[in-house]
Structure formats: C-alpha cells, structure tokens
Amino acid sequence: MVVISDIIVQGVQMLLVLLLAPLLTGFVRKLKARLVRRQGASIFQPYRDLLRLLRKEVVLADNASWLFRVTPYVTFAAIWVAAALVPTFATGLLFNWTADLIAIVALLGSARFFLALAGMDIGTSFGGIGSSREVMIAALAEPAMLLIFFCMALVAGSTQLSTVANFMASSYIGLRVSLGMAVIALIMVALAENARIPVDNPATHLELTMVHEAMVLEYSGRHLAMIEFGAFLKLLLYISLIACVFLPWKIALFGTGPLAYTVGAAAYVVKLAVAGFLLALFETATAKMRVFRIPQFLGAALMLGLLGTLLLFVSRSF
C-alpha cells in the first residue's frame, strides 16, 4: 500500500514536471517580450510548438547515422530521469534513493555527451563548433557543479538530495557563508547549462554566435521536439534544484499526506513563477558575452564552489 502511494506520488511528480516545463519556458519568453514592450507570444506557445513539430516530417541529413536518430530519446530520457530525482513539491519520493546529487550531474552529463556526439554526426562545421564549445562549457560547469554539491553535502551530511532538502526545510540553518557562495555559483552554472544569456542566447538565429542551437541545427520534426522538450525540462530541473535546497518553503516532507502535497505543489508553482520572473529580468538586463569570456565566468563559479567547500573543510559552522 505504501509502495503504491509512493509510486503514485512519484508518477504525479514526473508528469507534473513534464506538464509544467513548456509552460515555464513560455512564461519566461512572454515576460522577456513584455519587458522590452513587445506583445510576445502566448505563454502556451511552447506546447503548440511541440505539437507542430510532432506533426512535421523529419528531414534527415544524408549521412546521419543511427546515433543521430537515437540521441533525442536518450537525451530526453536522461534529463527526465534526472528531473524525477529532484524533489519538486515533496521530498522522500520513491526514486530519490536510487541516485544522489552526483548521479544527477552525471545524468545531465550523459545527455550532453550524446547531444555533442550528435552534433558531430553530420559532419558540418556548425555541429562541430557547437559541440566543441558545449564540451568546453561543460568541462568547467560540471566540476563547478560537483563542488557546489560537495558544499551542500557537507552541510547536510548527505549527498541524497531528498535528505539535503529535508535538512534545509526542517532545521534552522541560518546564514552560512559557504551556502551563499554555493547558491551564487549554482545560479551561474544553471545559466550556462541552460544556454541562457549571458553565456548563450536561446533566441539567436546567427549560427556562429550560438552554442547549443548550433549543435542541434540539423534536427527537425519529432526529433527536434524531443530535444526542445529536454531543454525545457532541464530549465525546470535547475530551478527545482535551487528551490528545493535554498528555498524549501512549504515543501511537503516525506509521507505527510495529500493536503501537504497540494500545498507543496501550489508553493512549487509560485516558486517557479518567481524564478522565471527573475530569470527574464536578468536576461533582459544583461548582454551576452563573448565565447572566450565564458571560461572566466564559469571559472568564478568553480572557485566559489571550491572556496565554499574549503571553508566547510575548515569548519562545519561556516
């Protein structure tokens, strides 16, 4: 019985992230448009985009291999599993024990690994430039993220995200220097990993200035739909991650019943809206930087993560 209710809650969570992910992106796009006094598309536009892509035919480059056709599904699955591991409205879900923070980093790494390979598959320069830059960004963002997670793990005494969230939600943590550094670094990494301004521009159409979009340039139809959906999910995942650790307000603790879950879900939607608003505001207010400024940006995140971890090695009370 307990197992069945666990499975239901986990299933609800996995469906919830799927349903909310395009909405979040649509919301951010709408806000960005309004902030520059444009009308903007409806916030439901990403759903329509996905449906339209699903109905379109796939145009495959002549020498695309099976890897190119498998990658969208592998990428989507890896991101979806990672998203299922992050507590959204409740902690202590069924999947939470199968993998921890380090595994989440690695799952996202798998998704990127395959996407970068797919970028190389056609053999055009656009794919190559996108892949090579993507792995450069990842080579800095991944260690930064691991160090940030070391920081959290040392504070909470666990790498289980659920335990970390429980710890942050239940006990009084107070202001911690190390966690402050971690949250700043995590936001920087999240911007880079989701190809947002100032690292990459999700809306650009100039091939040479983009990273993520150049890598997936050859995709079309249902394949592109999966990749887009994966990108929406990834944004949601990062926001959920930051929210559940640093803003565990009203998150339902393990086994607290339907009412707490409903409250948790409502609070989660509010958190997403706030994060989306801040993201849109930040993206409107900053300019994209040159590609070779990115290492400095991410290097700063890496150093913040390392500094936070070092402080915790010196004393657990930092």
Binding site: D62, A84, D100, A103, I122, G128, S132, V135, M136, F313
Partner: protein, 670 residues
Amino acid sequence: MSPVALQMSCVAGLLAIALLAIVLSRAASATAVVYGATLAICGIALFGALRSLIGGMNGPGLSLPIGLPWLGAHFRIDALASFFLVVVNLGGATASLYGLGYGRHDHAPHRVLPFFPAFLAGMNLVVLADDAFSYLLCWEFMSLASWALVMAHHREPGNANAGYVYLVMASFGTLALLLVFGLLAGPAGDYGFSAIRAAQHTPYAATLVLILMLLGAGSKAGLVPLHVWLPLAHPAAPSHVSALMSGVMTKVAIYGFIRVIFDLLGPPTWWASVVVLILGGITAVMGILYAMMEKDLKRLLAYSTIENVGVIFASLGLALAFQANGLKLAAALAFTAALFHVLNHSFFKSLLFFGAGAVLTATGERDMDKLGGLIHRMPLTSFVVLVGCVAISALPPFNGFVSEWLMFQAVLQSPELPQWALKITVPAVGALLALAAALAAACFVKAYGVTFLGRPRSTEAETAVEVDRYSLVAMFILAALCLLAGILPGLVIDALSPVAVEILGGAMPIQVNEPWLSIVPIAESRSSYNGLLVMVFITISASLAVFIIHRFASHALRRGPAWGCGFSDSTPAAQYSAASFAQPIRRVFGTLVFHARDHVDMPAPGDTRPARFRIELHDLVWEGLYQPIVGAVGFSADRLNRLQFLTIRRYLSLVFATLVTLLLVLAIWS
C-alpha cells in the same frame, strides 16, 4: 592442487607456449595455436584467481629452489594478489581472444608471438612473487618482454625511439625498486616479504621507500612527470599488446605500490598521503589535457591511461590519509574505490584499444584527422567503442561512474581528518578529479566524434569494412563487463572486501543485502546509488518517449543534404578535426599548461598562396625536465669521447694515476 600451484602451472604453461612460439615461428598456424593456448591458460588462471578472491581459498605459499641459492624463490597468493591476478588474466584472456583475429593481419607475427605469452607470464609472476629477489627479477622480465613487443614493428617511424625511451625509463624504475627493497630488507638482508612485513622500519627509511616507490612504480604506471615513455611505447605495440600494457601492466605497477606502501611498510604516516594525493590529482588533470590535444587515436588512449592512473593514485592517497588517522571505514571506502577503478579501467581501456586496433586493421590509420564516418562502415565496432567511451567518461549506468562516485563519497568523508594540510589538499584534489572527469567526457566526445562520426576524411575510411568475429567477441565481452560492473556494483564491492580487510583491517559494509541491489557506502541517509534502477528508469522513460512519439507523431522522414547555410562545403576536410574540436579547451587550459599559441599566416589580398594555420604546443615536462638531462648526458658523453682515442702510453698513465689516487684516498680515509 593448491591455488598457488595452479597459478604457477599456468605461468609455466605460458612460458612453454613462448618457447613453442619460437619453434613454430613462421608456421602459418602459429597465430591460432599461440593465442588459442594463451586464451585457454588465462581462462584457467582467471578461474583459479576468482576462486581465491571470492572463495577466500589462498592456501600456503610455494617455494621453488631457483633464484639465489640460499634464498630460493617464494610465491604466494593472498587476497590482494588474487584480485590483481583476476585483472591480469581477464585482460590476458580477452587480449588472446582478440589476437586470434587481429594477429592474422600482423606482417611479422614471429616478432610478437613468443613475447606475448612471456609478457603475460611476467605480469602473473610479479603479482605472485613473495620475496624481493623474485619480485625484481619478474618485474624486469615483464619490462623486457613488453619492450620486445613495443619493438615488434621496429621499422615504423618513431617506434625505435619509443623503445629506447621505454628501456631507459624502465631501467630507472627498476633501479628505484632495487633501492626500495634494499632499504626494506635492512642490514640483516632478509628478502622474504613476511620478514620485511614483520620488521620495524625507521621513519627515515620509510620516507625514502615512499619516494623511491613513487619513482619506481610511478614510472611504470605513468605518474606525471615520469609518464613520458608511456604515450610513446603503448601505442607503438600491436593493439592487443597496447591494451595489455595500458589496461593491465600499469595495474601491476599499482599492485607493487599497494604491496609495498600499504602492506610491507607498516602503518602509514599522514604526510605520505599528501604527496600521493597531489601527485595523483596533477597526473589526472595533466593526462587528460594531453589526451585532449592529441590527434593520434592510440596516443590519446595512452594519455587517458595516465589520467586514470592519476585517479587511482589520488584514491589510494585518500585511503592512506584515512588509514593514518585510524578511520578504517573511510579508508576502506577510498581503497575499494581505487581497486574498483583498477578493474574498470582494465575493462574499458582494453576495449578502447581493441577498438583502435579494429580501426587500424580496417583503415591502416591511427590519425583521427584521416578517419571519420566509420559508424556507417563498421557498425558493430562503433557500437562497442561507444559503450567504452561512455564508460570511461564516467557516465551512468556504466562502471566508470560507480568508481568515480565511490571516490567522491570518500572525498566527502575527509573533513574528519585532523591535519590542516589534508583539510586543504583533499578538497583541492577533489576539484582536480572533478575537472579531470569532465575533461575526460570532452576528450572522448572528440575521440569518438572525429573517428566514427561525420564524413570520411580519406578513401581508407570510406572503404573500411567490419573486423573479424574474434575481435568483435572480445570487444563485446568487455562492453558487457562494463555494463555489468556498472549495474551490479554491489557484487564487485563485496568481492573486493577481503582485499580491504587484509590490507587495511576494515572493509565497506556488505552490499548484497541492500534492497534492490543498491550500494550504500556508509548509511542510506548519507548516500546511495543504484545503477540497475537508473538503467531501468532510463530504458523505461526512453521507451515510453519512443512509444508515444511513434504512436502519435508523424512518421514522415525525408533524406536531404545537410544545411550548409547557403554554401555547402563539399570536401570532408572542412569538417571539425581533432585539433579544431580541441581549440576551445586548448584556449582555456592550453595557454597555461602547454604554452599553446595559434599562428595564422594569412596572405595579403591579391596573393594567391594558401593561408596557413599552425598550432604551437610545448610539452613543458619534456622540455623542462628531460631535455636538460638529455643535454647534460650528451654533453658529458661528448667530453668523455676523447678518452676513446688515446695512445697506449696515455692509457697506462691514466691507469697509474687512478691507482695512485685511489690508494691515497684509502690512506687518508683510514
């Protein structure tokens, strides 16, 4: 038959095959006979080693009346040895299987066949040796056999140089080991390992032993800055031997390090761990950066071996730190992570070298810039190599991730360490390891993307055909092992626990009883990982996505030319190459580590000569450390050369002068 007798008979069998190979030499059937027989014997030895490791059947040692007359030769199997015997013989068995197919293409099989079983016998003997004399003798035998294999294709450019550098570095390593055992045996001169283990070692001697062991085992394993021979020698050998050298021989060196530092030397000191940690961390990052800059597929793999050796040493350093402070559980965690990575690396590095060998057989090319598009021509090889690339990039649900995960768990245990130096070193090394892991993924995207994906860059790549069945079976076995060790890590950890108990006196909790085959290093609330469920979840969600898409979405599919932005580049040379893929990372890290510069030679408008682009890279280790030594040796040799052409009168006076000087010294001394 006792386990050690079984292993020794296998070694004798391997040596007999080596002799047989000399006799058969140029016979047509020699390849099949030799590799078939080594496969059978390695299979038996593997079975025996597994029985010793899992069943705990170690039995008494064996003493043979060979070697020094008053000493004899002692051989013994304990848990540590049996684990490394598993690694050696598994590598040996798969390499033999691969050799059955690959060896047929060898143009000079008589240069490989006798040394291949001898090399395997040497590695087995090093692990089995139970006294210093036998150990050194077998070590040297292993080095020489592998040197002969490096020199198998001695007429290819660069191979003679590779063999020479290898020989020099191997002699240097053996010299260091000789001194290690001299120090360990002490003035009494008892060379048996049991006597060394029982003896007390002064802190001064222990320090020297650590430094010399890092030089001796480190030079064989490829620790930076002693790694210079490795990327030259490993790729020079035939590919199945490269796999053995990278996947197995470096592990034998690590076995030597563990045997001496953890077992023979007695309780460790904490500062020793700082040295090992820093060396390991630097080796890991440097190795993978070198690999990133490389465009020769086999050299890239050799450099990646250096990275993995660094990871293993860093893990061992952590184990030393915990052990020195009496934190048994954490020490066992770090130690198990190191051994797990030893096993994993032997799987995926052998697999990748086999893959490189398959590419070499099919195209005759090692240069990635002349390959590409092989996924269409060699579908099975490219599939297994993809598995190897995913595994070595530490991505779930494969095995590389598990050992990396265990290691990070060990890093997270280290705030308990009391020493300040360690408190600073461990997180820094943790960051280096994280960086190395991320760069490894980038490096293998490059290796796989340039070699197997895209459009073929040469006619050889365009006309490549799939390799033979033996090679494919060997690669599929290793790929399956990569997956199995990744989804059932608990079984591997449990199999390793006797080793940790024997060496450290503590082990990780037994994992088999955990629900759903999870692994839980300390406690469930702290961390757990379940490779099996991760794989199941990924499979389910991917199949779900595929099902829904294929149920509801459009099925239409059209092939067309790739989008060229209005200008389609017709030549495959315009694709991203190995060097251009590495360019962003070269710019970020290379300017510091390799003093990398890009030189663009752009002709003036109107000038019709082609533009040129050149990359300038400096191997600072070679230029800063080895070139001065080479220069000094050359300089003094030139000076001493004059002594070669003296008259007999001068020689006699020199002899006389030397005699007088020595007598004078003796007189003043006493």
